[in-house]
Amino acid sequence: MADVLYRKDMGQYSAGEQAGLPETLVVRLASHLKRHALWDVLLLLFPPLLVFSSMVIFLYHSDWVGRETLIAGGALFVGLALLTGFLRFRVVAPSRRAAAHLIDERVGGKDRFITLATIQASVCPPFLLARLRREASGLMRHLDPAGDFPYRIKRSFIQSLIGSLSVVLLFLLFQQIGSFFAPAPARDNELAPLAQKLSPIPRFSELARSLEMLTARMRDQGLSAAEKRSLIREALKRVESQLAAERQLGGAANDLLNQAAGALRGMEQGLEKSQGQGAGGFKNDQTGEGKGSGKDSGQKGNEKEQGELSALEIKEQKGGQPERGERQEMGKKQAEKNHGGGEKDESGKEKSDEVKGMGKEKAGGKGSKRMEEEISREKTAERFLRPGEQGEKGIKGARFVTVELPEEEAGGSTGEGGLGKRRGFRPKVSTSNAPLRPPDSPDAAPEKQPLPLEYRGLIR
């Protein structure tokens, strides 16, 4: 209503005359202060908006929220922010009356400007109105809206900033607390899509398949962390070798391979972390196993228990997982047997740690470097040998093929084979099992593709 009356009153003046009127100064100041109010509102909303965006993006990247949730939450927050901003602006934006009041205060106008800004001019005596305008115009020169009313950051912005920073700090604190207690994030989620991306490329199809299998095995609850880690390392090695080859070829799939390598490293770190966090529970398990293996490595026990352990080893070699309870029970039995074992018992304990990892490593074929070093120190058991090493039972991990030999050669052949030799078994047929050279030896069989880890047990 006031605006309509104002426009009606101002309609009788030309643009030049209007510029010199006190009412115009009031309008100018009101617009100036409205811009300030807009800045205030924007500054008030900016910190929480920034904090919210950062938090949501962080949560999105951490896979805590999905894309849809991100979009919906973001839209909702932005909508709320806009609504709040609008309502806040309506409250803080000064009216023409407020602007006039400010001018009166600043220039000592004794309510001249508020009268001019709010009075209905059409019902006022013109001579009094003219006089009032004249008086107000005389005061106008003392006022410069931009200079006298500069923008100042309001306390609300400081409060908003402090509040937002507090939220960020709390968020970080809770995140740290959460990550301390929560299990490490599973990076194998990243590996599966990468494997899918690699699979259409012919030269990476094998690698992709192995990565997919690794992903599947990572979900296997029966595998221990050390076993998983060794699988990861192996896969990492393969990816790195592929990456090196790709670099030489100048291929364009470096990114994918790099990502795969990163994902594998992340998985490994995650496993290490989770292993560290769950140390208490794992230690108990180790203790049980260690005691059991101690007997296996050095101590003599009764035949029955020996037989049980051998059965367990065979089970492991076949790729099957011994039941945890079974292993623990065995360990306990051995512990009872080795009561007061001293040094040997200790070494047995150490070895038992390795048994846990090696059971799977042997099934897979290759072990990690660390494991290899540890194994090299212990030459007591066949199953701790690295693939290709000569053991009591022959070459570890050797793949056998049946070949036809001439009669004389067949007669002279020792028929060397692990079990056959030991038990005095000699084949009567004119065939012989000749061991293949280790894959890394110069005269090794020309094997083009490395066998998948899972198939090695079957071939053996």
């Binding site: 309510d111 009268t115 009094l128 006089r131």
Partner: protein, 328 residues
């Protein structure tokens, strides 16, 4: 009339009265404001403070007819309004209306609370309607018309306190205070030396016309809607029944039986306009309003027993109201 002319006349009148009356500048100004607003004034103060002299000086300066009525318990209404008297004119006897003292332009009702309510009420019609009815016949009073009543706040024995309805008809109630030592010295110098020089006439012979013009100009003074809103909120805040929410004034609820009537708001606005013109402005400011709140409302607030018992006055309650009600 131009605002400058108004101010000139107003200042001259003020100065002339102040030649006779020492101090009481605010009272003089408020009386003049009430006069140009067309209101009546009740002056309250102990005897000997110059109330009567002030009013006499003012009427003389204005150049208007002046009558004084000393109110006593045996004063009859007809003594004020006038009565029909039987006269013989050319052998014919007839009743002729003989005007009372109320038929003056400035009437001083001295110690108005000493007259009976019946006599007091005779003044009521004159004050509000500006006319007198005697024996069924109505006689208009000549404009400008103003009643200036005085009352003594301490000698209450044998007095008849003015009823609320009559008090409400007074535009302002002004308190005349005792002079300070320096002012008393000045009073002594003026009154105990040579013959006291009275006020001289400021307005010309056609003063009544000028006064009517000045009264018209006063009503044209510009007043912004936010200021009118402030007056409304102030008056509304004096009502004990309106004490709710943020605008509640505890003193009002505790000490008042009734708040101000709409006449109070009218008195504030007209008084503020008069004050603005007296200050040389053509628009009302918040200061003008606050300058006239006390005289305009103090006699319109009806105090309760608790206020009487605790000796709480209307001015204290008004101060609380002004403090509580924001300008914007």
């Amino acid at each position: 009339m131009e605002p400058e002319k108004y101010r000139e006349q107003f200042s001259s009148l003020e100065a002339e009265v102040r030649k006779v009356i020492v101090d009481h500048a605010d009272v003089i100004r408020k009386i003049l404001i009430a006069f140009f607003s067309g209101g009546h004034v009740l002056l309250e103060g102990v005897p000997g403070l110059g109330k009567t002299l002030l009013i006499k000086s003012l009427s003389r300066a204005l150049g208007l007819s002046f009558k004084r009525v000393q109110f006593t318990p045996d004063l009859m209404p007809s003594d004020i309004t006038g009565t029909q008297v039987l006269t013989e004119n050319d052998g014919r006897r007839e009743f002729q209306f003989k005007q009372g003292p109320i038929f003056a332009q400035v009437v001083l009702a001295d110690e108005i609370n000493r007259a009976t309510p019946k006599t007091q009420s005779a003044v009521l019609e004159a004050m509000e309607e500006r006319q007198v009815t005697v024996f069924g016949e109505t006689y208009p009073l000549e404009p400008p018309f103003m009643v200036l009543a005085t009352q003594n706040p301490i000698e209450l024995e044998g007095t008849y306190p003015l009823p609320e309805a009559q008090l409400d008809r007074f535009f302002f109630k002004l308190l005349v205070s005792s002079p300070a030592p320096e002012e008393l010295m000045e009073i002594l110098h003026r009154t105990t030396g040579e013959a006291l020089q009275g006020a001289s006439q400021v307005l010309p012979n056609n003063g009544a016309e000028i006064i009517v013009e000045m009264q018209r100009l006063l009503r044209q003074v510009l007043m912004a809607p936010p200021l009118e809103d402030y007056v409304v909120r102030l008056v509304h805040a004096t009502h004990p029944t309106a004490q709710k929410g943020d605008g509640a004034v505890p003193e009002v609820g505790a000490y008042l039986r009734f708040g101000s009537s709409p006449r109070g708001a009218q008195a504030i606005i007209l008084g503020a306009k008069g004050n603005a013109l007296a200050e040389g402005r053509v628009h009302v400011s918040y200061e003008d309003i606050e300058a006239v709140i006390y005289p305009a409302l103090r006699h319109r607030l009806i105090l309760n027993f608790q206020a009487e018992a605790e000796n709480v006055g209307a001015d204290q309650i008004l101060a609380a109201v002004i403090k509580k009600i924001p300008r914007d």
